[in-house]
């Protein structure tokens, strides 16, 4: 009650200041007059009485001040005064203010931008209502499930698949139905897989779309409404249900212009007609971080779409491929739900004899926010590195601004001493100085937010343009980002403002006011202790810059190493694209061969084309096909794992992979029932033990299965990743799968694309071309993380370097100004120009050297966190450290010379006379 009264009365004083003041005035003068009246009754004259009263009771003005100061709202008033005074002081030195605001803007802006990215990838909750109720199902067992086909799509953290422990988030469709029907612990379940690359044709044009394969209750469970039309329901999942699709809002906008007429329209997916029944709510942008899709189709359509997952058969118990998310019923605890799901899972896997009771198969329910990791697992390490880098950057900005404020505090000592002498409390002066720091910090943050907005947009487009797959990131600043920036601003203001405030208010009154602040003796004495607080701040900045620069240097060097790695084939002038006639269903096996042969022939006739071939997968695309085989004549009879690639004729010639012995694959091999293969050098080295490889067979364990005869040996290549050493690889003829064409050109491979598109269109207009890229573009995308980090780290390193040099320059300039008189005396006593130059430059450079040394020690401790990002370089690579130090030294010499040069121009007569 009284608190409310207190606040109400305080607000009244604030907003009706004049009236409250007038009342106090009237009351006080009344008080004093009444006291005077009393005195007059005892015989004093009026004037005597008033004087006596003032002496006894205090004057009216002082009393008013006392009463006012006792109110809490007066604190706000003085704060406001401080702010206005601060703004006036800052406006008086616009240069200083601009440098400080810019420095802080860089620090705060970089932090906000990186935090927005971190927020988008790691922190934002799933954009559905009550995401905290969602759990993702994960099974585990003390043993590997038997005869189970398992696939996953990067939704969950990782799959364990060892003999003693296995665990993943993939379930079979019959299992989903069992859990749905036999337990009542979930209020809803949503299963999904993919997205699948689907070939879409409507109005005669063909394109590839990404369709997520989902259960009928997907939208209902996630509580996602429709922006237009309807979403899916369980009846869409029934076998034989009409083929329907729900579009994502962004796809509807870009492909259909947000036109409501799109609902009810028929599109063809992999040649199957689908009816568009609705568009999902625009707020539902993703379920798994970084993953997005164009549309959702019910999982019962998988067979019709000829998607090979689960062998296209939904009823199979041994195909585990669906990720399942559930909403736990409100009356059920998490433990109960877990037990319920585990019971069903156990009886099902034991019934189907995938696992034994002794393996203790069970289901764990993870919060979906944590369990659906998606891109998070990929981005975690680089993001934390970037957060570290920008945190260091902010520290450097703070040290820089603190240094500038310190010099300013020195020049303001007289002003502050004067204010203390006039009766301002030390606390009051400190509050005023901190208010100024806070003002600078807020201005810096405002500029920083603009900067971060630009930075986040640039970063977003860099990610979109360079990442292998499209990803969706919501980088619009939300409440989390806002709170982060506010906290950062306050922290920054205190961090850089505190030291100068303490030092500034420690000023000893008398000597400051009495003598000139540039007294000769004082200056020479203080000139000797050159590692004052200002010097220490420069050392900190230099050391931190070394850390950022060393990290950047190591990542850049790794990137250079990776780019110059020998891939085993010529990556230049190669254009690649994918076609998949198996999806359309209008080609029989033999016709596929004919199509590829004809396309190969037509492409090779195009001007500027040297060679054309095709393969099941592109090299260095990140995907890999491995299989277990038995190799004829090996002493060790166990299965070995080899990498496989199906290729067309002329492949080795097109890729410029040398044939070492034997022959390459020939047109006859493509159709012959006799299976042949070409293996690489690693294959021979690892499995042949000095035997002649040609004529030997390898293949499945069962001798009735496919056996390949080795007909030739080719040079080693990197397969899926530049970082990996070449592994044993077998190349077999490509007979009936989709293909990736590779065109070797004379120059600029990208320029050939329109002609290649025409050539394909003339053969079959309904066959979409997808994944079109040059080989070098593909490598760049594979190196996305490295490039992103190298790019940002170099940028941050550069900013750190500039800031450290501004700090150094500022300190030395201030020193020169402060020591003008001392330099004058030295000159009079015979010091030469180079002596003066050395005096100032040596001071700066010794600070830099100390900073570099400390920076080395800190870097050596921190660079190991770069870990897996590095390639062909040690975390404590001496030459990188040396180069970074050299760069910093060269730049800092420039920063030292300018003020030192100014010092040599000091005219001794002017310096000595100046007071």
């Amino acid at each position: 009650m009284s608190l409310v009264q207190n606040i109400a009365s305080g607000l009244r004083t604030l907003f009706r200041k004049q009236q409250v003041d007038r009342e106090l005035d009237e009351e006080l003068s009344g008080f004093l007059e009444m006291a005077a009246d009393e005195k007059q009754k005892h015989g004093m004259s009026q004037q005597e009485a008033l004087r006596a009263v003032r002496l006894e009771r205090g004057s009216i003005d002082v009393t008013k001040e006392i009463v006012r100061a006792a109110r809490w709202e007066s604190f706000l008033e003085t704060c406001w005064q401080d702010v206005r005074f601060g703004v006036r002081m800052l406006r008086k030195s616009p240069g200083f203010t601009a440098v400080v605001v810019l420095t802080l803007a860089l620090g705060i802006g970089a932090n906000t931008a990186i935090f927005s990215l971190l927020n988008a990838v790691m922190l934002q909750s799933i954009p559905v209502s009550h995401p905290e109720q969602l759990v993702v199902l994960r099974w585990s067992a003390h043993g590997r499930p038997h005869s189970v086909g398992h696939s996953s799509f990067g939704d969950c953290e990782r799959t364990d698949w060892s003999a003693s422990f296995a665990s993943s988030c993939s379930f079979s469709y019959p299992m989903l139905r069992e859990i749905r029907e036999k337990t009542h612990v979930f209020s809803g379940l949503a299963a999904f897989a993919g997205p699948a690359e689907l070939e879409m044709s409507s109005n005669g044009s063909a394109s590839m779309v990404r369709g997520e394969i989902v259960s009928g209750d997907f939208f209902e469970t996630l509580r996602i409404g429709a922006a237009a039309g309807r979403t899916l329901n369980l009846s869409d999942e029934r076998p034989g249900a009409e083929a329907v699709a729900v579009l994502s809002y962004s796809y509807w906008q870009t492909e259909f212009g947000g036109n409501a007429a799109a609902i009810g329209k028929t599109i063809k997916l992999n040649s199957v007609p689908f009816t568009i029944v609705g568009v999902a709510d625009p707020r539902f942008t993703r379920l798994v971080p970084g993953k997005s899709q164009d549309m959702w189709v019910p999982l019962s359509q998988m067979t019709a779409l000829r998607i090979s997952w689960a062998n296209g058969d939904l009823t199979k118990h041994d195909s585990w491929w669906l990720t399942v998310v559930g909403r736990v019923a409100s009356s059920v605890s998490l433990a109960q739900a877990q037990t319920g799901a585990s019971l069903v899972f156990r009886s099902e896997v034991v019934n189907e004899s995938h696992l034994k009771m002794a393996d203790e198969p069970q289901v764990t329910l993870l919060p979906a926010q944590k369990g659906l990791s998606g891109d998070r697992s990929w981005a975690e390490q680089p993001l934390f590195l970037l957060v570290g880098a920008v945190a260091i950057l902010l520290l450097i900005s703070c040290a820089n601004v603190a240094g500038l404020l310190l010099s300013r505090a020195e020049t303001r000592r007289k002003e502050i001493a004067m204010r203390v002498a006039l009766g301002a409390g030390r606390g009051r002066v400190a509050r005023q100085l901190l208010t100024e720091s806070m003002l600078l910090s807020v201005a810096g943050a405002a500029a920083g937010i603009l900067l971060s907005y630009w930075g986040a947009t640039t970063l977003d487009s860099f990610v979109v343009a360079n990442r292998g797959s499209r990803m969706y990131l919501n980088m619009t600043p939300d409440l989390t980002v806002l709170l982060f920036t506010i906290a950062l601003t306050v922290l920054t203001g205190i961090l850089f403002g505190l030291a100068p405030t303490i030092i500034g208010t420690r000023a000893n009154l008398a000597p400051v006011l009495k003598e000139s602040s540039t007294g000769i003796t004082g200056a020479i004495a203080s000139g000797k202790r050159w590692i004052g607080p200002g010097g220490a701040l420069v050392v900190v900045q230099v050391a931190l810059s070394i850390v950022v620069l060393a990290g950047a240097g190591l990542v850049v060097r790794s990137l250079v190493n990776l780019k110059s790695v020998n891939a085993g084939f010529d990556t230049n002038n190669l254009l690649q694209f994918g076609v998949d006639p198996t999806l359309t269903g209008s080609y029989k096996d033999a016709e596929i061969q004919i199509l590829y042969g004809e396309l190969q022939r037509r492409l090779s006739y195009l001007p500027g084309v040297v060679d054309v071939s095709y393969s099941s997968d592109t090299l260095l695309s990140g995907s890999r096909w491995t299989t277990g085989v038995n190799i004829e004549g090996r002493a060790d009879k166990s299965m070995v794992e080899v990498q496989m690639m199906a290729v067309g004729t002329n492949f080795f010639n097109t890729m410029r992979i040398p044939v070492v012995s034997g022959r390459a694959l020939e047109p006859a091999d493509m159709e012959s029932p006799h299976e042949v293969a070409v293996v690489n050098r690693s294959f021979v080295k690892k499995f042949m033990e000095n035997r002649e490889p040609r004529g030997l067979h390898f293949g499945s364990e069962d001798s009735k299965g496919k056996q390949y005869e080795i007909v030739g040996v080719v040079g080693d290549t990197k397969y899926d990743d530049l970082r990996k050493e070449p592994e044993p690889t077998a190349f077999i003829p490509l007979k009936k799968s989709g293909a990736r064409f590779a065109i070797r050109t004379v120059s600029n491979p990208a320029a050939l694309l329109p002609a290649a598109r025409r050539a394909l269109g003339e053969l079959d207009n309904n066959l979409p071309m997808f994944d079109v890229m040059t080989q070098n573009e593909r490598i760049e995308r594979r190196l996305f993380t490295e490039r992103l980090i190298a790019y940002l780290a170099s940028l941050f390193g550069l900013v750190a370097l500039i800031l450290a040099c501004i700090g150094l320059y500022g300190l030395l300039s201030y020193e020169v100004a402060r020591r003008t008189k001392e330099i004058g005396v030295r000159t009079v006593l015979g010091a030469q120009k180079r002596d003066v130059l050395r005096l100032i430059a040596a001071q700066g450079l010794s600070l830099v050297c100390i900073g570099v040394f400390i920076g080395f020690i800190v870097s050596a401790g921190l660079t190991r966190f770069l870990g897996s990002l590095l390639y062909g370089v040690q975390p404590t690579d001496a030459s990188t450290f040396f180069e970074v130090a050299l760069l910093l030294l060269i730049v800092s010499v420039a920063a030292c010379l300018a003020p030192a040069w100014r010092a040599t121009r000091v005219d001794p007569m002017v310096a000595l006379r100046y007071e």
């Binding site: 009650m1 009284s2 009264q5 207190n6 009365s9 305080g10 009342e23 106090l24 009237e26 009351e27 006080l28 009344g30 008080f31 004093l32 007059e33 009444m34 006291a35 009246d37 009393e38 006894e56 009771r57 205090g58 009216i60 002082v62 009393t63 006392i66 009463v67 006792a70 109110r71």
Partner: protein, 112 residues
């Protein structure tokens, strides 16, 4: 503020209690309260305007007293303060507390 040998400073925190006690008798303006305290203490306590009005402000905001502008017998405008119900309760509890403390201090002083 000590003005003569006879006056002395108030014990810390007792001014509020004295004001409440004074107002318990009848509503009064600022000078009235000061004069009454001096008179009742036989001139030992002298209250200066600063402390008095800060105390009024404090008591007003605590809701123990309320103020009202009226005309005095000398036809001057002045704010008259009076006790609220809350103020009456607080005066009672503070008086009891004070009595307990004084008794305790007296016992200690007698013993030594």
């Amino acid at each position: 503020m000590v003005m003569s040998d006879q006056t002395s400073d108030l014990v810390q925190g007792t001014l509020d209690m004295l004001i409440l006690k004074t107002l318990a008798l009848e509503p009064m303006h600022g000078y009235g309260v000061a004069a009454r305290i001096e008179q009742m203490s036989d001139g030992i306590f002298r209250v200066n305007a600063g402390s008095l009005f800060v105390a009024f402000e404090r008591l007003l905001r605590a809701g123990t007293i309320k103020g009202e502008w009226k005309t005095t017998e000398n036809s001057r405008r002045a704010r008259y303060y009076s006790l609220t119900e809350r103020g009456r309760k607080r005066l009672d509890s503070e008086t009891q507390e004070w009595a307990r403390q004084v008794a305790a201090i007296a016992r200690i002083l007698e013993r030594s």
